[in-house]
Point group: C2
């Protein structure tokens, strides 16, 4: 097996791109990443996407994007793992390069969600849950998270307002990210007064439906410096699964898939949570931030929210999270999100995060979650300068 | 890179499975393949599927099937390349085993299409075409193929009835396949009198919408004999793309993606068309059989139909195709089809095709096509006994 590095990154601004089609968004991110890597051709293209069929009437994105990008003929396919699709596509690209089957590979995450009414997006997002045993009973995705949050508050003695800092921190970081959908700060009072979505989740606990695309170019580490003087090594990328339906789990407040995925990643990279300088987690809702921090070993069970209360999650805190705004404020174009996380970690490790730069960032981790923790992909990246 | 072998195969009967859910179909094929390989665990699960989101309100099939099969925790994801999804999933599994990242991998193709009305399936299938430039104008998938067939007849001087033997041969072979959807023979007269679907395509040119699942288990060739005394070696598996929209091609009657994919596969395996003992091609419509035979080098341009007229495609012909019924008569559950082809080639190479056995079959090829030739996966398998 070969070591693999990221030699190029690209992203579009996250938002409501009514003037751009799905293929245009994907191409914009791909073009930026190929330009960054100074490559004119790739051997293969893996496209992470969840909802193109439901929301834009278009499957077959691999061939579609390859052709639109002028790469007709190459290997291409779409990879889907609900909201974990982006990092799942990176995993396939990693396998292809590490195994020696391809040299230069592009991995894209792309999603276009705002062309349809919000209720259609909501019902489409429920396809990430168990169609027969959750969605069929009218349980939406935010509804599942609301049940988890209510139970967490009950078990561990938190109040609703204790979750505020996850959102406040994310928005604060987004103000300095030109690619963020909501680059404005929010206050504790705004959080407390935000409209309820599915009690106890309110609008400011929730990441927004959005359009966007992000892309990374992979190459064997041995040749990475031919393309860039800032390669970022992929020290680990692992996938683990759990039940899709939350009610099938032994303990709904323990993300076992996230824990397995993180443990495998730590073992693969030969590091532990204490070595990680920043953590791009999957804050689709504030409760997911808490559960992800606990499953990945950054907090004891029930103490994830305490990290937010203690402000340990800020850029100069013990474990900085959502350093460019996270799903909450950068935005959550679901199949693209995992790739945005990777691009953002790579920016930190390249020292290109501008005013959001985490000092001396050497090791960064991202955790991309599909469904309510049913597919979890953990990636550990290392600066190589 | 390691050599890779198929150590287990499994399939469900193709048909209208109103009594079985998507996950049950996938599990049935997986269980059969794992039993065949005598394995109780796999390292990863790659699920080829196209339309689960649109037709059953369920994405996230990787985790769903892994959990339902008692494999909770393992790596799992869905792979999509329109009707090429099945073989695309095999490609990802192959990459993982060949590269040394996984040892035992399950690759499933599954589709459930008959729960909805046929017109919904038809519009969903159009997501394999170009949504903005083909489907938007009302051009259905069968419509695209009808245009290709009409043009082919005009260019090469064939009559409609010249295509009959593709369907007659497929149905004849299906009569002896217990997994086939339509195990009954058809006659030239029935073909001539069949109802039109999109002129010149009639009902007996067309493969049926169906439910089904097929699965193979992969392992490194070096340990394959620990599991089976009939391993089948994967000599090549390649993916190539073309434009999604047919009108963007230089020559709509030349499947360039199929040609590139086949040439790459021949090069990878170090063989040529003359070495291939049987060819499971993608006969979604009879015209696709002709175009596939030509692109893969079994016939000169415009001579694919002549192979059918000469009966060179029968079990004892020069190049046997659709030996278990093909898409036409075994059935075409779109995301599963590519895996059915692989299972059928493996059966031939294991000498388990019963009355449909191709004599002295050593090298078999399958070509799985997504869209109208936009994604093409070619696989060459070899008997290893």
């Amino acid at each position: 097996m070969r070591d693999v590095s990221i030699i190029g990154i690209g992203q579009t601004k996250v938002g409501e791109h009514w003037d751009k089609s799905l293929r245009e968004l994907a191409f914009q991110a791909l073009e930026a990443a190929m330009h960054d890597a100074q490559v004119e051709r790739v051997d293969a293209l893996y496209v992470g996407n969840m909802l193109s069929g439901e929301l834009t009437g278009q499957e077959h994105l691999g061939a579609l994007v390859a052709d639109f990008a002028g790469l007709r003929g190459i290997e291409a396919m779409k990879i889907e793992a609900a909201c974990g699709s982006g990092a799942a596509a990176l995993r396939v690209g990693y396998i292809a390069v590490a195994g020696g089957l391809c040299d230069i590979v592009a991995c894209i995450g792309v999603e276009k969600m705002t062309d349809k009414q919000g209720d259609i997006a909501t019902s489409s997002l429920a396809t990430a849950a168990d169609a027969d045993y959750e969605a069929l009973h009218g349980l939406s995705f935010v509804g599942i998270n609301a049940l988890l949050m209510r139970r967490y508050m009950h078990e561990h003695g938190y109040r609703k307002e204790d979750f505020a800092n996850f959102a406040i921190n994310a928005h604060a970081n987004a103000t300095r990210n030109p690619y963020a959908m909501f680059p404005h700060p929010i206050t504790a009072q705004q959080f407390a007064e935000a409209k309820p979505v599915a009690d106890p989740i309110n609008l400011l606990d929730s990441s927004p439906i959005a359009d966007g695309a992000a892309c990374v170019i992979l190459a064997p580490t041995s040749i990475a410096r031919e393309f860039t003087d800032k390669p970022v090594r992929v020290r680990a990328i692992t996938v683990a699964t759990d039940t899709v339906a939350v009610h099938d789990r032994r303990d709904p407040l323990y993300l076992e898939g996230a824990a397995i995925s993180a443990q495998k990643a730590y073992a693969m990279a030969g590091v532990g949570p204490a070595d990680i300088d920043l953590f791009e987690l999957h804050d689709a809702f504030t409760i997911m931030s808490a559960l992800s921090l606990e499953a990945a070993g950054f907090a004891q069970r029930g103490k994830g929210v305490a990290l937010a209360l203690d402000n340990a999650i800020s850029l100069d805190g013990h474990i900085p999270i959502t350093t460019m705004g996270g799903l909450k404020a950068r935005g959550h174009p679901v199949g693209a999100t995992g790739m945005y996380q990777i691009v953002e970690v790579a920016m930190q490790l390249r020292g290109e995060a501008g005013p959001n730069q985490v000092r001396n960032a050497r090791l960064g981790m991202a955790q991309n979650i599909g469904g309510s923790g049913a597919t979890v992909i953990t990636t550990i990246l290392e600066a190589d300068q």
